[in-house]
C-alpha cells in the first residue's frame, strides 16, 4: 500500500476509521515527545502531555481545515499544551515572547579545573538540558523537524525575528561552551 499523507489519514479517521489515527501518532510521536520532554525536563510529565496532545488533536480534528500543514497545526497544540502544563497563562506566554530577555549563558563550573576535556555530545546535552521552554521548542522544531523559522513562528505565535533570536542564542551558548572546553583545537 502506498504511504498515505497526513490529509489522507485524517480523511480516513473522519470517515470513522478511528484506528487509522495510529498512523498519524506513529508519524509524530517521537519528535513531539522529544520537544515536550526538552521543554518540561521531566519524562513522566512529558508522557502524559504527549497523550493529551494526541487526544486533543483528535477531538479537534473537525476544526482542522487543511489550510495549513497538519504538522504546523499539531505542533501548535503540542507547544500550547506543554506551556499550560508548566503553568503558563496566555498573558505570560505573550510576555515571554515579547521580551525574550538576555543572552543565554550556561557556564561550565569546572571547565578549567577538572582538566578533563568534555566531549561535544556532553556539551550539547548540557545546553539542551538547560534551555528554557521556548528555546527548547525552537531547537527541536528547527533541527529535528527541519522546519523553517516562518513555520516555527506560526507554532509559537510570534514573529520570525523572535524565532531567529532564540535559535541564534542557543547556538551562541553552545559555541561558548565549546570554546571554554578548548574544543577549538579540533577545528584547526
Amino acid at each position: 500500500m502506498a504511504k498515505l499523507d497526513d490529509l489522507e489519514i485524517i480523511e480516513s479517521v473522519r470517515r470513522g476509521n478511528v484506528s487509522d489515527y495510529s498512523l498519524l501518532i506513529d508519524r509524530y510521536k517521537h519528535k513531539a515527545f522529544s520537544m515536550i520532554f526538552r521543554m518540561l525536563k521531566n519524562r513522566m510529565d512529558a508522557e502524559e502531555v504527549l497523550q493529551d496532545c494526541f487526544v486533543k488533536a483528535y477531538n479537534n480534528l473537525k476544526s482542522f481545515k487543511g489550510d495549513s500543514l497538519f504538522s504546523t497545526w499539531f505542533y501548535r497544540i503540542v507547544y500550547n499544551t506543554t506551556l499550560s502544563r508548566i503553568g503558563m497563562k496566555k498573558r505570560q506566554i505573550e510576555e515571554m515572547m515579547l521580551s525574550i530577555g538576555e543572552e543565554l549563558d550556561f557556564e561550565d563550573p569546572d571547565a578549567d579545573t577538572s582538566g578533563r576535556k568534555k566531549e561535544e555530545k556532553e556539551l550539547l546535552n548540557r545546553v539542551i538540558e538547560k534551555l528554557p521552554p521556548n528555546y527548547a521548542a525552537v531547537i527541536n522544531l528547527f533541527y529535528l523537524e527541519e522546519m523553517s523559522c516562518e513555520e516555527i513562528s506560526v507554532i509559537l505565535n510570534t514573529g520570525v525575528p523572535n524565532v531567529k533570536v532564540l535559535l541564534h542564542r542557543s547556538r551562541n551558548a553552545l559555541k561558548k561552551l565549546i570554546k571554554e572546553n578548548n574544543l577549538e583545537d579540533e577545528l584547526r
Partner: protein, 148 residues
C-alpha cells in the same frame, strides 16, 4: 580592520548573506585567524545541534491514546441518543397530559360533574377480613409476645 560578530556568523550559517558580502567575509577570514576561529566554533555548535537525538515516546502511547479516544467517542454518542430519547418521551407525555386536561376541561359542565371514583360503591369488607386473618395468624405464631 572591520571584524565580524556572532550575529553575522549566524546569518552565514542560515544562508542569509548575499554573494558579495559572503566573498568579502571569506576573504577576511583567510587573513583574520580570530574571526575564522569564531566562525568555525559557531559552525561546530550548529553541526552539533544537527546531531540532536530523538527521545523515544513510550511504546504504550498508541494503545493509551486509542483507548482514551474510544472512551470519549462512545459515551458522548450514547449521551446524545439518551438525551434525544428523553426529550421525545417527555414531549409525548406532556402532549398526552395536555390533551387529556383539554378533553376533561371541555366536558366539565357543573351539572354533570361526577367524581372519577365513587368510593361509596366499593365493597371494602375484604380488607376487614384480611386484617382479621392476619391478627389470628400472628397470634398463633407469636403467642408469648402478643398475649403473655
Amino acid at each position: 580592520m572591520k571584524h565580524y560578530n556572532d550575529e553575522f556568523f549566524n546569518k552565514m550559517i542560515d544562508g542569509e548573506v548575499d554573494d558579495s558580502t559572503r566573498r568579502e567575509f571569506l576573504h577576511h577570514i583567510s587573513e583574520c585567524k580570530n574571526c575564522e576561529l569564531e566562525y568555525l566554533l559557531l559552525q561546530k555548535a550548529h553541526n552539533s545541534f544537527q546531531k540532536i537525538q530523538i527521545e523515544e515516546a513510550p511504546p504504550t502511547l498508541n494503545m493509551m491514546v486509542l483507548k482514551r479516544i474510544s472512551r470519549v467517542v462512545k459515551p458522548s454518542e450514547g449521551g446524545k441518543k439518551f438525551f434525544i430519547g428523553m426529550l421525545i418521551g417527555l414531549t409525548t407525555m406532556l402532549l398526552i397530559l395536555f390533551g387529556y386536561a383539554f378533553e376533561v376541561g371541555k366536558t366539565l359542565d357543573p351539572k354533570d360533574q361526577k367524581p372519577l371514583i365513587d368510593f361509596s360503591k366499593i365493597d371494602l369488607s375484604f380488607l376487614q377480613e384480611f386484617l382479621n386473618s392476619f391478627k389470628s395468624f400472628s397470634a398463633v405464631f407469636t403467642p408469648n409476645l402478643v398475649e403473655p
